[in-house]
Symmetry: C2
Subunit: 430 residues, 2 copies
């Protein structure tokens, strides 16, 4: 048999394997949709316990993943995301317990009203169905996504990157144990058994209608591929080009604290600020101390001529620096002519993720809130709050910038759909 | 120049035309997103007035559409949907006024909560963006869809079927007049200027990201094509295979009224019942009078052996009669062994649209509500209430059976997205 013929058979096998996973996920989703809160929460508690107990095995698998990645010369930031340690494993177990502690969204009445004919209408949450999660380096996505999907009554198919597959499988074994302990189907949380990239393509095709939504977790190139090729809805953001805008009058101390936090608390997260816009009226008073603060904590500042005039250490910004997701200790700064100019800049260069305005002018903040169409807008607070946990959602499976179904942090509620329950007493339509 | 070369140029022209419509719609959507309620409602009032004033012109265009359709030998049911008369035009104008009277969804706070750190978080409605509506015979979709999209702050691109295009254009002229009167951009409601079917393909491709969601309104083949080919989300239902299930104990009078209404009030709408399921415990008492009622009003009954035993006029049902959308005075009837058997039948043959249970057993109704995953479930009421107007939504652009974003009747609220507004007092993330 020729190599080509074998390859064809192999990819045929993979396609069959993936379709079968889809069918099993759909069957499991039907069981999950009927599972009560106690059963689901029991499974989650057992998962957390198994993760804690298996920490040594998970760490050993992670070490093998890390060594293999290092041998391939993988970048340091990638290795940092891949690396687990006892505290990260404890955080993972705790995260699963926190999801267990959330109220069960399934069956919750979102809205209800009465009709003049006596019909009582309720809109109630239901599970979405089957979620496909495609991720890269972070092994903890296994536990976060598995737990969130289960809580919302959804089955999930997890596809870890080849670099994190060993760690992900070790964590998945703990999730499977939790499902079994609660008597829930093993197919509720499946992990793709191969690192063949064709599996991603199969998932993006929807597995013959078995996958309802895809959530990519990873770098820009992964999200771009998923958004471009997926035949099913996608919850994702391509980039987090977050802006902080200082509008006069703005409290200087507050502005200093917020800018440094928004940029520098963690530079690698999607809610990190990438561009600072400053009203011309504040250039003389606010820019010098804020630029000094940023530079003092190791941030490179790239600015327009007026920003450069405020501090000689500011590098000249090129056009490409605005709208760039640095994900690093670099910030682009620009002086603008007031609110409308700031909004125009954000519309042109932003990514509809998260923007903050710092001002004492409530009317300006309201206008900023009304006119900027980003998923998250903040007034007098750091963009680093763009996070499901910080929103009180317990956890998030990602942040979405699309306008369909989910937007902003995607937590258990965003992983549900709804149906209508209508109660009558014999009503017929005239 | 060869015929083929000319064809290529022509379809290139059409592609450019459609892409330009998409860009203009996107630009108009940005203006609409900022339009206040008074402006939008003023436009709607002017549209309703123009529709009433132009009734003779609309009727004349409709007569030309009807004559052309008749000349092509179009089916009677299609002609009935296509035909306008003064009362249908008045209903259209009134529908636009009712939409104007609805509260503006844009800016409505859907949820709000406080965080321990003092942040106040609001989830507020925003427009979805640009809606593509592809319809067939009913000219009133022009006004309904145009008005609903405008109310929700969305731009819309309307693509009527070739049979209804003249009527749709006459109605569209009235909508354009309303937009102009209120100073809103004409591109807020565009109508595709050609009946070339390639325009549908272009819309399904999303017009280079300009269309956010497609709503098909028409027969099964249209919806099937849209669902199969669309590269953007679709709000639709393929079929309305609605079930009425009689569970013992069930009030006989109520059951008789509901079954006849659900099947026969209007047989051609998606909320019409297509299958009746009856508990074996009710076969002797309930089936004979209900079958007699149905047959008396001209309904053909196709049943299993037990249904046939209850009335000699019942025709033998074939397997294909269950799960069939008759859209006619025909009903399939089956005797089942209780609640679980009924639910299994609905899961196997249903279309996740609308199902009703008639019973005096509240626990059984609750279980039916919990286990059946259809967009609309009713207890002791007719399936013909599956309608946005009947739900109190004012109007609907369609009914969706998918689980993403919109489900059930799609009204102004379902045509919105949301964003988060977070108000702080200088909070930074630790």
């Amino acid at each position: 048999m020729s190599v080509e013929a074998r390859q064809t058979i192999r990819s045929g096998d993979l396609a069959d394997t993936m379709l079968a996973m889809g069918r099993r996920a759909r069957a499991a989703a039907r069981v999950l949709a009927r599972a009560d809160a106690r059963t689901k929460d029991g499974a989650l508690a057992a998962m957390a316990a198994a993760i804690r107990r298996d920490a040594p095995a998970i760490l050993a698998a992670n070490t093998r993943d890390l060594e293999a990645a290092q041998a391939r010369g993988t970048a340091g930031s990638f290795l940092d995301r891949l690396k687990l340690d006892p505290s990260r494993i404890e955080a993972m177990a705790k995260g699963v317990e926190e999801i267990a502690a959330l109220p069960d969204p399934v069956g919750t009445v979102i809205a209800e009203w009465d009709r003049p004919n006596g019909l009582h209408i309720e809109r109630v949450r239901t599970p979405l169905g089957v979620i496909g999660v495609i991720f890269e380096s972070r092994p903890n996505v296994t536990a976060d996504a598995g737990a969130l999907c289960l809580k919302a009554g959804n089955a999930v198919i997890l596809r870890p990157g080849s670099e994190s597959a060993g760690s992900a499988r070790a964590i998945h074994a703990c999730l499977a144990e939790g499902l079994a302990a609660a008597g829930l189907p093993a197919d509720a949380i499946q992990i793709v058994p191969t690192t063949d990239r064709a599996a991603v393509g199969a998932m993006l095709g929807g597995l013959d209608g078995a996958i309802d939504v895809i959530v990519p977790r990873g770098g820009r190139s992964l999200v771009e591929r998923v958004q471009g090729e997926a035949r099913v809805p996608v919850f994702a953001h391509l980039e987090g080009i977050c802006h902080v805008y200082l509008h006069a009058p703005a409290n200087l101390d507050m502005a200093r604290r917020i800018v440094v936090n928004a940029k520098m608390r963690r530079t690698g997260i999607c809610g990190a600020a990438e561009t600072l816009l400053v009203d011309r009226a504040l250039a003389a008073t606010h820019l010098p101390p804020i630029l000094a603060d940023l530079i003092a904590v190791g941030c490179e500042v790239r600015g327009d001529a007026e920003t450069q005039a405020a501090d000689p250490r500011v590098v000249a910004a090129g056009e490409a620096d605005y709208g760039k997701e640095f994900l690093d200790a670099i910030i682009a700064v620009k002086v603008v002519d007031g609110l409308e100019a700031a909004i125009e800049h954000i519309e042109r260069y932003g990514s509809s993720h998260t923007e903050a305005i710092v001002t004492d002018d409530q009317a300006a903040a309201d206008r900023f809130f009304a006119l900027v169409d980003s998923a998250i807008l903040l007034h007098n607070a750091s963009t680093q709050f763009a996070d499901g946990g910080e929103f009180g959602m317990g956890a998030e499976i990602g942040i979405a910038t699309g306008r369909m179904h989910a937007r902003g942090p995607v937590g258990v509620e965003q992983l549900t759909s709804f149906k209508y329950r209508v109660r009558g007493s014999g009503q017929t339509r005239p």
